[in-house]
Assembly symmetry: C2
Homo-oligomer: 96 residues x 2
């Protein structure tokens, strides 16, 4: 780390695109009856990846995460992703 | 749906607790070098579940999601969860 770099925490939310089959979501919906839970529908199951980036500034950090999300963390044919800034966090903090 | 019920969209973010082994996170970190990405660390891979709840009000909707998150979507021994309100959304909208 240089004196001017920043340590930032980001999350990447990866979800199946609309219209793409989501067997995990169907499995959750199938279990709702056993739990006696009513009124829940349209369940979609994706991934959440949280990571720390060290970069010159927030914009540079987000650019790195953008590349990672597009090239490694998601399959662009069937999945959408959204990047969320978690601030100057350190890992291991309780989720918001 | 009754005249007074609300249709709400929530997300549940499930992440491995600090100290719990996360092989998927290690795999991502192991791939960073191949992509030529520097400065990324402390990668944690979890799940993101998005769902629609129909309930009397936002508080009742969150209570249903809370139960679902604790009893079905996470393993409390090794995972933490956080509930996020996505508003009066409809499913299939692009992620924020």
């Amino acid at each position: 780390m240089t004196d001017t770099s920043r340590v930032l925490r980001f999350a990447v939310n990866v979800t199946p695109k609309p219209g793409i089959l989501d067997p995990q979501g169907r499995a959750v919906e199938g279990s709702l009856g056993h739990l006696g839970i009513d009124g829940v529908r349209d369940v979609r199951v994706g991934r959440r990846v949280e990571l720390t980036v060290e970069a010159a500034d927030a914009e540079a950090g987000r650019a790195i995460v953008e590349r990672l999300a597009a090239e490694l963390l998601s399959n662009p044919l069937i999945e959408a992703y959204a990047i969320e800034s978690l601030g100057d966090g350190v890992p291991g903090e309780p989720p918001r």
